[in-house]
């Protein structure tokens, strides 16, 4: 059996990679993809804990389902925004979408 730590370490690595993607990449779609990575890492955590703690109740699993559902909504909306941004400013570069500053 694979020990619990392994799952946690794995999800930690994926999550950190996602964080790097969000912080470093300039393309808005890529930032979104990095967010998906992070969400996946979290889902993995939920499910792992569900299996570890109370598989009877399946609470963690339900959470994972919600995460996926919310992620779907988020991707939909965010991509719409990206498309809108691109259409207005001909770029999908997050560094250039800096109008809302001082």
């Amino acid at each position: 059996m694979v020990p619990m730590e392994n799952y946690l370490v794995l999800s930690g690595i994926i999550f950190s990679l996602g964080v790097y993607g969000v912080l470093a990449r300039r393309n808005a779609v890529l930032v979104l993809m990095s967010v998906e990575l992070m969400l996946n890492a979290v889902s993995l955590n939920f499910v792992a804990f569900a299996a570890y703690l109370d598989p009877d109740k399946a609470t963690g699993i339900v959470f994972a389902v919600f995460v996926i559902a919310v992620a779907a909504a988020e991707v939909g909306l965010a991509l719409a925004i990206v498309i809108r941004l691109f259409r207005n400013r001909s770029t999908a570069n997050v560094d250039e979408a800096a109008t809302m500053r001082w």
């Binding site: 912080l23 470093a24 300039r26 930032v31 997050v94 979408a97 800096a98 109008t99 500053r101 001082w102």
Partner: protein, 627 residues
Amino acid sequence: MAEHAWILAAVPGIAFIVMAAFGRNLPRQGDWLAVLCAASIFALFFAVLANFLNLGESAWPVLNSIEWTAIGDFHLRMGIAVDPITIVMLAVITTVALMVNIFSVGYMKGEPRYWWYFAVLQLFVASMLMLVLADNLLLLYVAWELVGLSSFLLIGHYWERRSAVEAAKKAFITTRVGDVGLLIGIILFWDATGTFNILEITEYVEQGAIGDTRLFVTMMFILLGAMGKSAQLPFHVWLPDAMEGPTPVSALIHAATMVVAGVYLVARMLPVFELAGDALTVVLVVGLLTALFSGVVAFAQTDIKKVLAYSTVSQLGFMFVALGAGYVSAGMFHLFTHAFFKALLFLGAGAVIIGTHHHQEMGQLGGLWRKMPVTAATFLIGSLALAGLFPLAGFWSKDEILHAVEGVGSWAFFLLAIAAIMTAFYTTRLFVRTFLGKPQDEEVASHSREPGLVMTLPLVFLAFMSIVAGFFIFHGFGNALGFPGGFGEFLHGGKPFHVDWGLVGLSTALFVIGTFGGAWFYWNGRVDRSTVLAEWQPKVYEMIQRKFYFDDLYQFFIDRVVLGFSYLVSWFDRFAVNDTGVDGTASMTHYTGFLLKHLQTGRVPNYAMAIAVGVIALALVSLAVGG
């Protein structure tokens, strides 16, 4: 009646309220009410006097007081005390007030704010009576300030004239500086004795309740108040300027009554002064300097009222000298006689002003005795009384003062004799230049005529008083009128007065020197011979004419130092306290905001970075704290 002497003050007080409220709508604007009021207090005074004399010396001072206010141990009683000094003051005030009220009916005819003038006159009389009746220093201070207010209002009566406004302001503020001292002195007394009552304070001090130094300091503060009100050096500057007021006011307030309040105060507190180390010497020196100084300045004045004003300052100096020598009766006696002849002179000057249609420069007058015989005659009596002709009122009182100073030292006597000569000198100059010789301005002279009875009658009465007032000093004269004796005996039970013929001779000699000197200088002179001095010693003459630069010095001090300091404080308040302190705090906040706003880059990755760093930091903190 004597214990209800407060009625004397209440009557004009009520008259003031009535006249201030309705005076304008009364027939003749209420001047009859003023005269009636003055007459009734004149009559009431005699009722008080009769009662007072009937009660006999054992009952003096007659006291009457009520509890006024109390907080904890702090009790305050207000009341009146009638003693011989008070009686003398009452006599002066009621008499002169009546004369001035009558005279004003003529003098102020057709002037603006006629009703208001009379109303304030009543306010003045009420406060002045309250001042002399007060049994405690606090009430005295209250009245002291109120007479100052009335004086302010009356000096500034013609407020359309800028100079009148300035004079009123100067009078109020100058005396106010002295009043600060007075109030401090009063409170220091309370601090040491727990009472404001003058008799009790005297008693405490006699028992040694206040240490020597402290008593001296306290008395100096009190003296400051007295000097301010009585226009002693260096507070004298306001009195000549106060001549901007209507002339009857100058007679009442700035010659006979208010300005002697300082003398009254010192006389009233004399037992305390005597115990306060060198305080009396200070009084004496102040009086001497004032008497000499203003005698000199009076000599170079050309406005008849200004001459009289400096003469008043000088005579007040005489009174201070007498008190400084420790002679209450001499000081009070001079106060008493001076009130009559100086009021007479001022009213005479008023008659001249009215008679010549508002001319009061000596250079434009002269030869008026033909046109205005009554005025000239009464003025002559007043002048001679002031100069000290035997046996007019001024002679006896000045004699008393010279007698008093004999004990102090020959230097004081000598200086005072010089001052007496100067008095005679400038008085002669005034009379000669105004009434004798040929008219110097035919235009003025041709229009001059004697004013009506309403103005000449008071002159005659006061001239009569100027002749007889001096006789009060004699035992027999006082006795005949029901007093326990002469003036000195009445005031403090001293020995009967005996004429010192040597001194009389000396006084007469002083009078003769001064008068003949003045006459020689100015007799029939078309030209003011003081210009001789001006040609001979222009610098000295200018110094005298500019009143030894006192006014300039004060003006400089006020403009450069006081106002400069005020500008500095205003500047400090605006720039240091407000713009730096308060607005500075605001702009610091603003600037911090300006700096911090740059954190708001608008770039999503930056925000994300901040979130990530925050999350890690929080996680580390919670790990470190929670284990």
